[in-house]
Amino acid sequence: MVLSALAALILTSKGWPNVRDTFFDWQAFKDAFPDVLDGFWLDIKIFVLVEIAVLILGLIVALVRSSRAPAFFPFRMLAATYTDIFRGVPVILVVYLIGFGIPALELSGVPSDPVVLGGIALALSYAAYVAEVYRAGIDSIHPGQTSAALSLGLTPNQSRRYVVLPQAVRRVIPPLLNDFIALQKDVALVSILGPLEAFRVAQIEASSTFNYTPLLAAAVLYLAVTVPMARIVDRVTARDRLLRSAGAPV
């Protein structure tokens, strides 16, 4: 009901014919789509590589932060500072700072490819979030699990690897997938640095034809990836709940 009222309101508004022509032009959509799709492949590539980097870096940071050994104290501080900074600064700023700041240093051997720099910026930002997700998972495992592992003669590292981490990772898969979705969208921020990814391509087409429909094409492509991912999250979460409710004493 609300939706149809909203639709009626929009369709009867004075500016609707104008909006329809500049945003929902079927011909412009068809013209722009192949180029935007081309750009979108770059998004996918960035996304996959960055996601892998995020999963690894985030895990390392989480392991350092949840370590107890006194010798690790400086590393714990470092990891805490890292997560504080990169979670606290907007992703768009990190992309700017790394994308424009690092090449400006004119250091040899440092990558200057905007795709690489943008990817690094995204990885650093998202790994800070994912590290906290992992850490929450590690902290949620009952200390009795570690006691049992140690009492059986496993080393502290073996206890983490074979007992705590497998359970922790399983528990945080739903929130991790949510972060995947957010990252997938934020890949568009790399466009600030110039690479021709979907959003950038759509923007260029839009400004050359004075028609915003190409942006809609980009939006459709993003949805084509994020909506299935959201459904996967739902399914994994539901299965998880089912498994846990079937479980005996916790």
Binding site: Q145, A149, L152, G153, L154
Partner: protein
């Protein structure tokens, strides 16, 4: 038996958590093939003592000796010492992401350097012996509490420990499941397993233990043969503790 050197020895062990003294100087010895039962109210320090012996907690003062070696010495690798002991917990602490067989196999194959085939064979044998042969592919949450605790016992035995530390292993069980777990411990006792058993089951302690130690506010204030300690306790604290259990129908 009295000639045998103690497998486990605790000398003057103290432990405090944030200024609260839990153990105030505990002395204890468990000889080979002996079972010593630790009794005492909740909060008297039974679990803490077992955790200190298994080096899961650091003690503040005193020594823990295993086969005459001071394992609480800073130069001793705690992992190596723990490999010679095994503990079973009140809450089972099975690994929920591993099957019964994997639970039992993890330590022998990863920590004790046993060949996988050999470890698997002896794990299956142990599981079968304690009536769990059919369940080796199941995950722990499919098992009853009694079955889970028997798996935990098998998991501990699979590491071939010098001594077993049992921390109120029946306290989390429904009453009708207690018997099957205690049966396993009785069988282990008859085979000569050396054990230190924290328990609230006085009837069981009377049957199985060679010695009973009553722990009160972090000290063992009475000890002796089970018949003597349980039937004619000398200390008023022991008498009060046993009376309370009696009125709760637990003796």
């Amino acid at each position: 038996m009295s000639a045998a050197a103690p497998v486990l020895e605790v000398q003057g062990v103290t432990k405090a958590y944030g200024g609260v003294a839990v153990l105030r100087g505990v002395d204890l010895a468990v000889r080979e093939h002996e079972a010593v039962a630790l009794i005492g109210a909740s909060g008297s320090g039974k679990s803490t003592l077992l955790r200190c012996i298994d080096l899961l907690e650091e003690i503040d003062d005193g020594d823990v000796l295993l086969d005459g070696e001071v394992i609480t010495d800073p130069s001793v690798d705690p992992v190596e010492a723990r490999r010679r002991l095994a503990m079973v917990f009140q809450a089972f602490n099975l690994f929920p992401h591993l099957t019964v067989l994997q639970n039992v196999l993890l330590a022998p194959s990863r920590a004790h350097g046993m060949q996988r085939d050999e470890a698997t064979e002896s794990a299956r044998e142990l599981l079968a012996r304690f009536g769990l042969g059919e369940r080796d592919g199941d995950y722990p949450d499919r098992l009853s509490g009694g079955q889970q605790q028997r798996v935990a016992l098998v998991r501990a035995l699979a590491t071939r420990p010098r001594a077993l530390l049992l921390d109120e292993i029946t306290s989390a069980l429904d009453p009708e499941l207690v018997g099957e777990v205690l049966e396993v411990v009785r069988e282990l006792k008859s085979e000569g397993m050396t054990m230190l058993i924290a328990t609230h089951e006085m009837g069981f302690a009377r049957d199985v233990a060679d010695e009973i130690c009553f722990l009160h506010e972090g000290r063992i204030i009475e000890r002796g043969g089970p018949a003597r300690v349980l039937s004619e306790p000398e200390r008023p604290e022991t008498q009060r503790f046993l009376r309370r259990l009696l009125s709760a129908g637990r003796v």
